[in-house]
Amino acid sequence: MLELKNINFSYNRNSFVLKNLNAAFLPGKVYAILGASGCGKTTLLSILGGLDIPDEGSVLLNGRPINEKELPDYRRKEVAFIFQNFNLIDYLTAEENLNLISTLDALPVLEKVGIDKKLAKQNALKLSGGQQQRVAVARALISDASVLLADEPTGNLDVANADAVTKLLVNYAHNLEDKCVIIVTHSADVANQADVVLKLEGGILK
């Protein structure tokens, strides 16, 4: 459903981050992307998520390239991002951060990631790092997006919580068949639960 074709990307001219990268991501599957720090994993996700535009090549959704004008629509409907640094809105509560993009009841979704009602009503930035990360995960889960992009979603979590979050993400792809989950991770546990494990190295996925 989501395809990358001959993607080239660099932040400055002398050093490329992604080079002639090709990849295809299928619905119902969980992908884990591994790679050394600074190899371009986040960059790859941001291109998949329509936050940045590749220098060359195209992102195809169901076989159709996405043009720049469609990006806000694409970001809202097709993809959901779990940011490495959470990126919650600081003047909203945890619950409101979810309602920012969805009209669904946020409390059950937050419950699933272990955020109770009391925490849900607190200002998002007053929560601990781990709690914020779980709110970020919940915000992606509630979006109903067809592609879920997670940038080290278990990085700040203890083993139990990491496990729970990983299960939720895996279930998102497996239980809802038209969804696909792409997780950037350093965790072997997460990689083990993925259907496909890819390694980003030298600007391409292997």
Partner: protein, 450 residues
């Protein structure tokens, strides 16, 4: 979540930011309101002054007998569309005699000043018809015996009951009018005596009048021949015969009455633009001569305020853009996140506008509570100083124009508040759009570190 809801959350939770915005906007609103109120009060004041104008314009021509002829007066009245015109009495001092040429006893009240040569003098008044004369029209005199003088009369007169009784005169008797040397000399100050033929005349009494309401006590110098009791009216033809002219009836003074006080200035200009009037021999007088300086001063204050308002608006726009852009730049991360979550740039711009408008509404409410005092005193101060200065400089104070002494009644008119609110809303919206829109062109990645 709708932009309105986001804006509301931002406004109520980013308290410091909101307070700065509200205070700035309050200051700006009060400033705009003060200027607008002063302008409105000034305009209103000018309007009130103009409304209080008497609708009369007086044209005098003492040195020329061919300007205010009946035809010309009618011509001017038509040009003005005057609703009425009144030929004010022409007056001359004259010595009063009986039929035999013996001086009459005139009324001399206590402490009255009698000029040398005026021991038997009175004042001769004349009008096209005596009934139209202002002294009869305003009720000072009333006719008690006989009839009024009309424009076809010749050699006829009305005398005061006082004079009649003191000298045993009654309707049908003849009296003489004479202009001895002292009186002619006195006349030469006001009249071009070269053009006068003061040979004197005999007139027959056709009516007797009396003082119905005593004329206001004149302050200062009072001359015996000017007393009401020593006034008599003669017909226009006899009066005209004292002047050398082409024979047509003329007046020295005419008052035109127009229908609308607000048109007074236009009417005066219209008369002044009549090229056939010899202005070296004529003069025009109206309330504009009294209120002119105050109106001019107020008008220039208004011009100043209107120019100032434009400048103030520009400066405020600049201040708002700086403040809002500072706020929006600090919200780089937030904007990046919202864009990354797929919230459209339009929705974010709208949020920023609504936030600014929430501050505006709060500021306006706050201003209205505060401004009762500030705006009133600011605006009153401006108007009062201007009017007082104009009063001191102009000749208005001599004429004691009541209205200029009363303070302008200040009310914070709702239309002024609306205008100010509209202006401020426009300023805020323009600033918010000017700041936000360019920001939205950026990609989320340029705004946040993801």
């Amino acid at each position: 979540m709708s932009p309105v809801k986001r804006a509301f959350h931002y406004f109520t939770r980013k308290i410091t930011h909101s307070i700065i915005m509200v205070l700035t906007l309050t200051a700006i609103f009060i400033l705009i309101l003060t200027v607008l109120s002063a302008t409105a009060a000034g305009k209103n004041y000018i309007h009130q002054i103009k409304l209080s104008f008497s609708k009369n314009i007086t044209l005098s021509s003492y040195r020329s007998t061919d300007v205010l002829t009946c035809e010309n007066i009618k011509k001017i009245a038509d040009t003005l569309g005057a609703v009425n015109y009144k030929c004010l009495s022409n007056t001359l001092p004259a010595e009063l005699l009986n039929e035999a040429g013996k001086p009459l006893d005139v009324y001399l009240k206590k402490d009255i000043l009698v000029s040398a040569g005026f021991e038997h003098a009175g004042t001769v008044r004349s009008n096209s018809s005596s009934e139209q004369d202002e002294l009869f029209a305003d009720g000072t005199f009333e006719l008690t015996e006989g009839r009024h003088l009309n424009k076809n009369d010749g050699g006829k007169a009305l005398i005061h009951r006082n004079l009649a009784e003191a000298n045993g005169l009654s309707v049908g008797d003849i009296i003489g009018l004479d202009f001895p040397g002292e009186i002619v000399e006195d006349l030469s100050g006001d009249y071009d005596t070269e053009n006068m033929d003061l040979k004197g005349s005999n007139v027959q009494i056709v009516g007797i009048f009396q003082t119905a309401q005593p004329a206001e006590e004149a302050s200062g110098l009072e001359l015996s021949h000017l007393l009401c009791e020593n006034s008599c009216f003669i017909d226009m033809n006899t009066y005209s015969s004292f002047f050398r002219s082409d024979g047509s009836t003329f007046f020295h003074k005419v008052t035109f009455t127009i229908s609308n006080s607000a048109e007074l200035e236009n009417a005066v200009n219209t008369i002044q633009n009549l090229d056939w009037i010899d202005w070296s021999a004529c003069s025009i007088w109206s309330d504009i001569d009294v209120y002119g300086p105050a109106i001019d001063a107020l008008s220039s204050l208004n011009d100043l305020l209107e120019t100032g308002l434009l400048l103030i608006l520009l400066v405020c726009l600049l201040i708002l853009i700086i403040i809002i852009s500072y706020g929006v730049k600090r919200r780089k991360k937030e904007t990046g996140i919202l864009l990354a979550l797929g919230i459209t740039p339009n929705s974010i711009v709208l949020q920023h506008i609504i936030e600014a408008l929430l501050s505006t509404v709060t500021a306006i409410l706050l201003s209205i509570i505060l401004s009762g005092g500030i705006v009133k005193s600011g605006s009153d101060y401006l108007i009062n100083t201007t009017v007082n200065q104009a009063n001191e400089n102009g000749d208005a104070s001599h004429n004691d124009p009541g209205i200029l002494k009363t303070n302008p009644v200040f009310t914070l008119a709702s239309t002024t508040i609306y205008s100010a609110a509209l202006l401020e809303t426009a300023l805020v919206t323009i600033s918010a759009i000017a700041v936000s829109v360019p920001f939205m062109r950026k990609k989320p990645n340029e705004l946040i570190k993801i």
